[in-house]
């Protein structure tokens, strides 16, 4: 039960002269909530992109539930239960909130090469989608066009879509980005309910979120993981303080 759900070894990615990922190694146990923190420009987005399958690494491997998924595309990884949310809200603005989630459900609910029956009416899609919207607190806003939702609501919609299809691993890229204090607390509380049942990799700047949610924390600086351990261990780590928390203390 407590084996590694995600294993990353020797991940390397360069953009010309810039080494964005420098032999990144990571182990995430099943059921664990693992936070990745690091200063701006550390390469967090590049790392997430490689884990999600959007970007091919130059070298290294990514294993998911024991399977080597390094060569798999993003859609293929999503179908295997590796879901991601985006740092900059990425939803379907012209569809309603419900339709947004229904689409995410649809990807895991059998073939989409169906050409006649109206998708909007399918209970097999509607019911789970409604459920997910209720979970993230958007039940009342189900029929609103996604573009007209408030920023915090859109981030919640983003999470609901990420949860569709019951993924085993959630890759959350700054889920509370741009949220106010109250919304942030609500999101953190919600994510806390997912702990244990789902494996979560959380990339965040917000230290509240990190230290209240994470079981373990890895610190990424200049494309390298310089430390990995419990939140308390990371807080105490001198190198980390210097590279990252030290900057924050100086602010």
């Amino acid at each position: 039960m407590n084996r590694n759900l995600l294993e990353v070894r020797g991940l390397r990615k360069s953009f010309g002269a810039l080494l964005a990922s420098d032999h990144v190694a990571l182990e995430v146990r099943e059921g664990e909530t693992h936070a990745i923190i690091g200063p701006n420009g550390a390469g967090k987005t590049t790392l997430i992109a490689q884990l999600a399958g959007e970007l091919r690494p130059d070298a290294g491997e990514v294993r998911f539930a024991g399977e080597d998924i390094t060569a798999l595309s993003a859609p293929a990884r999503a179908r295997r239960g590796l879901a991601r949310s985006f740092q900059i809200t990425s939803i379907y603005p012209d569809f309603s909130a419900l339709e947004n989630v229904m689409l995410a459900v649809q990807a895991h609910a059998g073939s989409s090469f169906r050409f006649f029956r109206a998708a909007r009416g399918e209970q097999a899609l509607r019911t789970p989608a409604r459920g997910l919207l209720e979970e993230v607190g958007l039940g009342a806003r189900a029929d609103m066009p996604a573009a007209s939702l408030a920023h915090g609501e859109q981030r919640a919609l983003e999470i609901a879509m990420t949860l569709a299809g019951r993924p085993r691993l959630l890759l959350l890229d700054e889920p509370v980005a741009g949220m106010g204090a109250e919304e942030t607390q609500r999101m953190i509380a919600f994510l806390a309910t997912l702990k244990g049942g789902k494996t979560i990799i959380l990339v965040e700047h917000d230290m509240d979120a990190v230290f209240s949610l994470a079981d373990r924390v890895s610190v990424l600086v200049y494309g390298r993981i310089i430390a990995s351990g419990s939140p308390a261990e990371i807080r105490a780590n001198a190198e980390v303080r210097r590279a990252y928390l030290g900057e924050e203390a100086a602010e």
Binding site: A74, P75, F86, E99, A104, A107, F115
Partner: protein, 311 residues
């Protein structure tokens, strides 16, 4: 406009179209029957383009190629003495689907500017192919050896042919409507709206887009079969890239991503062309800037104006 009003408006439009033959014969103006029939055939072609362009966001500048493939399938068979309509039109549809499959498979691996240029280039290739085959008239084209024959339906009868086209148009619009709201249609529309998101939830757009491309090509091939029967003349000009541009304008002017749009667009553009060409032989000098202005200022299209926000 509420859904009920929209249905009423569509029903009204249908009624008007159905009334054209009796009205035209009442006033002894067969020209208008011909004109509207021609417009409806192009509306079918535009509707097929609407699937990939309007809903799918794929800027295919080579769609007229399938008018040619369909037309040539019928014309070539007729040339060799095969006039069975079912056989001819089946071949028109299948050949168009096959060509669309090949062109789509190559083109859809690219995107953006490349995609536009490649689809244009492939169409031109087919056009040159059509011109170079002397057997079928080269760039002059040739007369259709004989109209397609169906049991019980005489395409030589103007009215009968008109109603056949109308029936096909209605079917195309109906199935098109079901298609864009089906699971498949939702993926296509999602891929257009936000491709990164669509990949992230687990859909690889390529197979769906390719399927849509093939469906659109096949339906346009059917339009080509209708067109060649309508004009009774087969020419590579069916595939001219300016024809592709016209089809795109019909989709845009009519309003992208709406079911009625292509019909409105076909009417608007072809009626406009007809009026202008009656006015002066240099009508394109007026049409050109009008099209430019419509792109700059009238992007919502007619359906957007008449029906309001449509989903």
């Amino acid at each position: 406009m509420s859904p009920r009003h929209r249905v009423l408006a569509l029903a009204l439009g249908l009624l008007l179209l159905a009334a054209v033959p009796p009205v035209a014969s009442l006033f002894n103006q067969p020209f208008y029957l011909d004109l509207v029939r021609r417009i409806m055939i192009f509306a079918i072609a535009a509707a097929s383009l609407n699937l990939i362009l309007g809903y799918g966001g794929m800027i295919s500048f080579g769609h007229a190629a399938y008018l040619g493939v369909g037309g040539y399938a019928v014309g070539v068979l007729a040339h060799y003495g095969v006039v069975d309509g079912v056989l001819q039109w089946s071949l028109a549809v299948c050949a168009s689907a096959l060509v669309a499959l090949v062109i789509g498979a190559v083109s859809l691996r690219t995107s953006g500017v490349y995609f536009i240029m490649i689809t244009l280039a492939f169409t031109q290739m087919l056009y040159y192919l059509g011109i170079s085959i002397e057997e079928f008239g080269g760039d002059d084209g040739m007369r259709l050896a004989g109209r397609s024959r169906f049991p019980g339906i005489d395409l030589g009868d103007s009215d009968v042919f008109y109603y056949l086209v109308l029936a096909i148009l209605v079917l195309v619009l109906f199935f098109g409507h079901r298609l864009v709201n089906s699971r498949f249609g939702m993926v296509i529309r999602a891929a257009r709206s936000n491709e990164a998101r669509t990949r992230a939830i687990g859909f690889s757009p390529y197979p769906y887009r390719l399927a849509a491309f093939v469906i659109a090509g096949a339906v346009c091939g059917l339009a080509g079969a209708l067109l060649v029967n309508h004009t009774a003349y087969l020419t590579p000009e069916f595939m001219n890239w300016t024809r592709s541009g016209e089809l795109m304008f019909m989709v845009i002017l009519g309003g992208m991503g709406s079911v009625a749009g292509p019909v409105l667009g076909a009417f608007a553009l072809l009626v406009l062309e007809d009026l202008l060409s009656g006015w002066t032989q240099h009508w394109q000098i007026i049409l050109g800037p009008l099209l430019v202005l419509s792109v700059l200022f009238f992007r919502r299209g007619l359906a957007g104006v008449i029906f309001g926000r449509h989903e």
